[in-house]
């Protein structure tokens, strides 16, 4: 009680420790594991990142011409950085310090759709390739 009394009175007459966040900036520290940034120009489409991603926040959909398209869902990502470590091409996937913005329902990627599409297109692509090989 005595110790707390001292501390309480001290707090009353000293400046609060609160960071007034929305008014004052409170940036993440250096090395914070934030968003994954993808650079398509460097990508070799090895899909290693898709394979290692635990929640499946990275998906590649196959276009008809065999090209792959990168999809990333920051609202599913757990920001572990495993994809960055798995990426064989340095600089293709990088983890920046910024976090994703809170979003309303319209801004969330339709991830169920993308998942289904990725799976379907992959199956289609593989089937076609197998046919071609035959």
């Amino acid at each position: 009680m005595k110790e707390m009394l001292k501390a309480t009175i001290k707090n009353l007459f000293s400046k609060p420790v609160t960071v007034k966040y929305p008014e004052e900036p409170s940036p993440p520290p250096i090395g914070y594991r934030g968003l994954i940034v993808y650079d398509e120009s460097l990508c070799i489409f090895c899909t290693k990142c898709e394979m290692v991603c635990p929640p499946g926040a990275i998906k590649f959909t196959y276009k008809d011409n065999g090209k792959k398209e990168f999809h990333y869902n920051p609202y599913l990502c757990i920001y572990c950085g495993e994809c960055v470590r798995a990426c064989p091409k340095p600089g293709c996937l990088t983890q920046v310090e910024n976090t994703a913005e809170p979003a309303v329902a319209q801004d969330i990627p339709e991830w169920n759709l993308i998942e289904r599409k990725a799976e379907e297109s992959k199956r289609k692509f593989l089937a076609e390739r197998a046919k071609r090989k035959k």
Binding site: M1, T8, N11, T18
Partner: protein, 279 residues
């Protein structure tokens, strides 16, 4: 009709709201935080006005409103300068509505809270009655208006009584360490848990009025010296905020025991010494 008192009573929610807002700021500062703006209680009030109301049943909701009316009325009884004992017992009357309202729903928290509210009453009521007796001893009257005009200063003669009233302030206002009736972490507000929207607003505002009620009781200790009374109120305000911040909640057995075995004997000792000295 005592117009002054009536006006003061009508404006008491505003005053009480300010006190509550100030309290929240002071508490936040004591914890090293910034805290809400001073007008926060009024924002809450206005927001609650805007909410869609939901109730368990009408009787319960109505009792919430009656608690506000009852508290308001009991404040007027106190301020209009009538009998002090009657005013203290009127407070029991207003609490009765909260308690019956709390009992009238089939929610365990509400029922526990109402029961604990009664235990609060068991703890502080004898103390306040004895205090009234003490004030009578000093000033020779039970009429509040005459106490406020007397030449005596009750504080100087009744220091132990004042101390015990100060220590039991948290019981009436339900602050730590004696906030068992609305123990937020145990029963989530106790009897007020099932109120919402406008009906909760009534209960919320009634609490502000209680602030005024309690601080007026403190003010009486200044007797005819109103400046001292105001200082006492200010002191009491900081004191119970400090107490709130440096103590954990006790359980109801400890609370009743503390009031009955420590505070009441203190008051009695003071009264006996006074009687001896006077006699």
């Amino acid at each position: 009709m005592n117009w002054e008192a009536l006006v003061f009573t009508l404006f008491s929610p505003v005053i009480g709201g300010f006190i509550y807002g100030l309290e929240r700021v002071v508490r936040a500062r004591m914890q090293g935080r910034v805290g809400p703006p001073v007008l926060q209680p009024f924002y809450d009030f206005l927001k609650l006005m805007d909410k869609r109301s939901i109730v368990i049943h009408s009787f319960h909701a109505f009792m919430g409103i009656m608690y506000l009316v009852g508290t308001w009325f009991s404040l007027y009884v106190l301020l209009s300068g009538g009998d002090l004992l009657i005013a203290i017992f009127f407070h029991v009357l207003s609490l009765a509505f909260l308690v019956v309202g709390g009992f009238s729903v089939r929610s365990p928290y509400s029922i526990l809270g109402a029961m604990r509210e009664l235990l609060h009453m068991v703890a502080y009521e004898p103390l306040y009655v004895l205090t009234a007796a003490g004030l009578y001893l000093v000033t020779g009257t039970f009429q509040i208006s005459e106490i406020l005009n007397s030449n005596e200063v009750p504080l100087f003669v009744l220091p132990l009584v004042f101390v015990s009233i100060l220590l039991s302030l948290p019981t009436l206002l339900k602050k730590s360490p004696f906030d068992i009736a609305e123990a937020h972490q145990e029963i989530i507000g106790g009897p007020e848990i099932e109120y919402s929207g406008k009906f909760y607003e009534a209960v919320y505002t009634a609490k502000w009025i209680e602030y005024v009620y309690v601080f007026f009781l403190i003010f009486l200790f200044g007797g005819g010296n109103h400046l001292l009374g105001a200082f006492l109120v200010l002191f009491a305000f900081f004191f119970f905020n400090l107490l709130d911040n440096v103590t954990a909640r006790v359980n109801f057995r400890q609370m009743v025991a503390f009031h009955w075995y420590v505070l009441i004997p203190l008051v009695v000792i003071n009264l006996m010494l006074l009687a001896l000295w006077r006699g």
